[in-house]
Symmetry: C2
Subunit: 272 residues, 2 copies
């Protein structure tokens, strides 16, 4: 007897399409790391070469999904505010593509599907709150070079950026890092390698990416502070970086270089 069609669908691997700006890690990187850490097939639509001519303009797909005229897309998905987006082929009702956005929302979804979202209710909630907090730190880092107007140039808000970056380095970084260090210390079964339990979660990959980005953006500040957070900069940072899927990814050309995204290195904003 052949299984019902819903059963058949479940046995074939879902097709994940990440829709994000090309050429920068940005907020898309939090999603990529989950795929790479779990060895999951995905398409990075705006960065991938067109597969045998079938998709000739990945960035066009992204732009289309962001059109300001959309009230519902052709498959019934509500409009998107901003990238990253994730399209999961066949995951919506009637086998249509499901389209979701908001980084923490995508992480929550993938965490459950790919086994990096916790093994019970408490773990799921704690992992989610840690990822949300790491993403808040990511956003505050972005605001150090764009404290006034996100669509204008850094060069037009340099004075404000210097004030914001100074406060960020002096007050915000220690507040966030202390919290994450204490979380690692309190999770004895994780041995400093995992924020929750003894298993990799999307909170780990997300926090790792923010620390890695901060090391690029504020190298002097990070160097001066790292001794205060030995688990965060030592055991934890290394454990995530050396993990099989992550290690191979970081060495590949799929890992995009930091440039003009969230994490930017302006020496004048770093510790002097």
């Amino acid at each position: 007897m052949s299984p019902p069609s819903s059963e058949r669908q479940r046995t074939s691997a879902p097709i994940y399409e990440l829709l994000y700006y090309p050429g920068i890690p940005g907020r898309g990187e939090f999603i990529r790391l989950v795929f790479e850490a779990t060895g999951t097939q995905y398409t990075d639509v705006a960065n991938d070469d067109p597969p045998s001519g079938s998709r000739s303009n990945g960035y066009g797909v992204l732009q289309k999904a962001l059109s300001p005229d959309i009230t519902r897309d052709e498959f019934g998905n509500p409009p998107v505010f901003a990238p990253p987006m994730l399209r999961i082929v066949g995951a919506a009702k009637d086998g249509k593509p499901l389209l979701i956005h908001q980084t923490p929302n995508i992480l929550l979804y993938l965490g459950e599907k790919l086994g990096v979202g916790g093994s019970d209710e408490a773990e799921r909630l704690w992992i989610n709150q840690l990822a949300l907090t790491a993403l808040d730190l990511n956003n505050e880092c972005h605001d150090t070079h764009h404290p006034v107007a996100v669509m204008e140039y850094y060069e037009d808000q340099k004075d404000e950026a210097l004030k914001k970056a100074t406060d960020f380095r002096k007050n915000r970084i220690p507040k966030f890092f202390s919290y994450f260090e204490r979380t690692l210390r309190g999770n004895q079964e994780g041995g400093g390698e995992y924020l929750i339990s003894n298993k990799l979660s999307y909170a780990d990959t997300t926090l790792w990416q923010v620390i890695d980005g901060l090391k690029f953006a504020f190298p002097k500040e990070m160097e001066a502070r790292k001794a205060d957070y030995p688990l965060l900069f030592g055991t934890f940072y290394r454990a995530v970086k050396e993990r099989t899927g992550i290690k191979a990814y970081l060495e590949s050309d799929r890992r995009l270089k930091y440039s003009n995204g969230v994490f930017r290195h302006y020496p004048e904003l770093d510790r002097q």
Copy 2:
């Protein structure tokens, strides 16, 4: 035959304790609205009068949970970064209290428990992404009066605040409002009253609170723009406000007045 203990636990109502700063609506208000809309009993620990002397210092409970020495609390919960927090008595393993934080995380939890989080996977994800986006708007509004340093006075960052607020009013508000208006327009079964489906969700209460706060903070800007977003400022805003549980709450003395929290009215930051 008596039910097993786990069954018995499930039949008694959970005890929800909101831990947030006293005296301001702030981010605690998003949580309160969900409780009030669903007629759910809860304790607002730092604002409630001590019940028969059993809790004489609600703010002390909050401060204790935020202690910078905590790596795990006495019940095994990981540390908290910032309020709001939600403590659910008996919800953790072995009947201990579960402690969670991060506004969108608490909303996600309550959305599922209280039936305002969507009826299938797609709805749950869309509601979550809408609430996250409304909370992003909330955070950007906060930054209009604190663009440089969150712990310093507005008076010490007034010049930067004027620039930030101008960009916020001119560019960010239309971007967010257009997105929410299109979402309402695309959801035909909601008739303009609901963002997703034809049922109240925590995305609705969260967006409503942000609009209500913006009307307080930027009354002239909102008045000038409301005709551009007829569903948002008309059908939707009214429907949530007039809903039984919400209406009674807004008329009660439990609804705290806006003052020096996220939403502040500085006439110089409003449209001139």
